[in-house]
C-alpha cells in the first residue's frame, strides 16, 4: 500500500500541471465601466448652438440712414416687460400715430403677424426648401437663392427695440421669429422717445 502511494506521489511530481487559461475578467469589466462612467459625465457631447449676428458698425449708422427705411415696409417690435411684445407698422404720419398692438412670443402671437406680413416670401422659401429636400438643389444653391428671396425689395424691415425692462430671452425670441418667418432685414436698434411715448399711451 505504501509503495503504491509513493509511486503515485512520484508520478504527480513529474506531471506538469495543466493550468486553466481562463482569466477572471470581472475586475477588468468593473474598471472599464468605471472609466466609461467618468468619461460620460465629463464630456460635452453636444456643442452649444449659436446664433450669428452682424451688427452695423458704429460710424456708418447715422440718423439719416435710420430714417431712410420706407415707412410702409417698416415694422417696429418693442420688447416690453414680463415677456410682452408690442408692434406697430410705419411711423407717425400727418400727426397720426400708428396703432400699437400688444402680443407675445407664442406661435399665435408675433409670429402670426409676421407671417401675414411676409407671406409671399415665406411661401417661396418653403417651395425652395421642398426642392432642396427632394435633392433637386444643392445646399449652396439653396442658401444663395434663399438670400436673394429674403432680400426682396418688398419684404418688411423689422426694427427690434428693447425697453429697459425686457430680458435677453426676449431678444433671442425676437431674433428667432426673424429666422422662422424668413425676414432678411432686421436690426437691433435703440429705443426712441417716440416709441416710449407710444408705449406710455398704451399702458
Amino acid at each position: 500500500m505504501s509503495e503504491v502511494a509513493a509511486e503515485s506521489q512520484v508520478k504527480q511530481k513529474g506531471k506538469t500541471k495543466k493550468m486553466s487559461t481562463r482569466v477572471d475578467f470581472t475586475p477588468m469589466v468593473d474598471l472599464g465601466f468605471l472609466l466609461i462612467t467618468f468619461f460620460m459625465l465629463a464630456t460635452t457631447l453636444s456643442k452649444p448652438q449659436t446664433m450669428e449676428i452682424a451688427m452695423p458698425s458704429k460710424e456708418k449708422v447715422t440718423e439719416e440712414d435710420q430714417t431712410k427705411i420706407k415707412a410702409s415696409r417698416a415694422v417696429t417690435i418693442l420688447l416690453g416687460k414680463e415677456n410682452k411684445v408690442f408692434y406697430y407698422e410705419g411711423t407717425r404720419e400727418n400727426n397720426v400715430d400708428p396703432v400699437l398692438n400688444q402680443t407675445d412670443f407664442s406661435p399665435k402671437g408675433m409670429r402670426q403677424f409676421l407671417i401675414k406680413k411676409n407671406y409671399e416670401i415665406m411661401v417661396k422659401v418653403r417651395e425652395l426648401k421642398a426642392k432642396k429636400d427632394a435633392k433637386k438643389l444643392s445646399e449652396q444653391d439653396f442658401e444663395k437663392q434663399k438670400q436673394e428671396l429674403i432680400g426682396d425689395k418688398k419684404a418688411p424691415i423689422v426694427l427690434i427695440k428693447g425697453t429697459t425692462d425686457s430680458s435677453y430671452k426676449n431678444l433671442i425670441d425676437a431674433l428667432d421669429e426673424m429666422a422662422i418667418c424668413n425676414i432678411g432685414r432686421y436690426a437691433i436698434v435703440d429705443i426712441t422717445p417716440f416709441d416710449l411715448e407710444l408705449l406710455a399711451k398704451k399702458l
Binding site: 477572471d24 475578467f25 470581472t26 477588468m28 469589466v29 472599464g32 465601466f33 472609466l35 466609461i36 468619461f39 460620460m40 465629463a42 464630456t43 460635452t44 457631447l45 453636444s46 456643442k47 452649444p48 448652438q49 449659436t50 446664433m51 450669428e52 449676428i53 452682424a54 451688427m55 452695423p56 458698425s57 458704429k58 420688447l79 406661435p107 409670429r111 407671417i115 428693447g162 425697453t163 429697459t164 425692462d165 425686457s166 430680458s167 435677453y168 430671452k169 426676449n170 431678444l171 433671442i172 425670441d173 431674433l175 428667432d176 429666422a179 422662422i180 437691433i188 435703440d190
Partner: protein
C-alpha cells in the same frame, strides 16, 4: 425509480464579451470627449431654433450671468499669457511669471484688472465664490471689458466672440455689451443658445 438529477451549473460567466464592449465604449468616449469646462457662474441660455454649431478653437467666450456680471475667457494658454502681459502694460500692473502661468490656466474670470493679482493668488476653488466673482467692469467710465476684447483680438485675429448670457439677463446689460463691441468695431459675434425645434407652420 432514479431521482431526477439537477445538473449543477457553474455560476461563473464568461466576461470576455462584456469586457470587449466596455472597452469599446470607453475608447469611443475617450476619443469623442472634449471636457466640460468649469464656468464661474451657472448660466441658463435661452433656446433658439438656430442650428449653427460653435467652432472648438479660437473662441473668446463672454459669459453674462442673470445679475449682469460679465466674465471673460479666451482659449489658448500662450495667448492668455500674452493677453495678461498686454493688459498689465496697459493698466500699469506688472505680473510675475508665476502669476502669468497661473493666469494661463484660468478658463474664465470676472474680476477688475486691479484685483487680478489677489485673484490669481487665490486657490482655484475659492475663485468662483460669489464674493470673488465680481464681474468685469464695462460701463462707460471704466470699460475694461472693451480693453480685454481688443487686446485679445490684437493677439489673435482669428478669435471669434461668443456671448453666453442668461435668459433673465436684462436687456440694457446686453445692449451695453453690444455697444462696447461696436465701439471697437467687432460687429460679428455669436450668441450661444440651446436648441429648440423648428415649429411647423401649416
Amino acid at each position: 425509480m432514479p431521482k431526477v438529477k439537477i445538473k449543477r451549473k457553474s455560476t461563473a460567466i464568461d466576461m470576455t464579451a462584456m469586457c470587449d464592449v466596455a472597452f469599446l465604449l470607453l475608447t469611443f468616449f475617450m476619443l469623442t470627449s472634449n471636457f466640460t469646462q468649469k464656468e464661474p457662474v451657472a448660466v441658463n441660455t435661452p433656446s433658439s431654433i438656430s442650428e449653427i454649431k460653435i467652432p472648438d478653437r479660437n473662441i473668446i467666450s463672454i459669459l453674462v450671468d442673470a445679475k449682469g456680471k460679465v466674465f471673460f475667457g479666451a482659449d489658448g494658454q500662450d495667448n492668455r499669457v500674452q493677453l495678461l502681459t498686454k493688459m498689465g502694460a496697459a493698466y500699469n500692473i506688472t505680473f510675475t511669471p508665476a502669476e502669468l502661468k497661473e493666469f494661463s490656466l484660468v478658463n474664465k474670470f470676472g474680476v477688475p484688472i486691479t484685483m487680478m493679482k489677489s485673484y490669481l493668488a487665490l486657490k482655484s476653488e475659492e475663485r468662483d465664490l460669489p464674493q470673488n466673482a465680481l464681474g468685469i467692469p464695462c460701463d462707460s467710465l471704466d470699460n475694461q471689458f472693451k480693453s480685454w476684447v481688443s487686446a485679445a483680438k490684437g493677439i489673435n485675429r482669428d478669435y471669434r466672440i461668443a456671448i453666453k448670457a442668461d435668459q433673465a439677463t436684462s436687456y440694457p446689460v446686453i445692449k451695453k455689451l453690444m455697444g462696447s463691441l461696436q465701439d471697437i468695431n467687432e460687429n460679428r459675434y455669436n450668441l450661444l443658445t440651446s436648441l429648440k425645434s423648428v415649429p411647423d407652420y401649416e
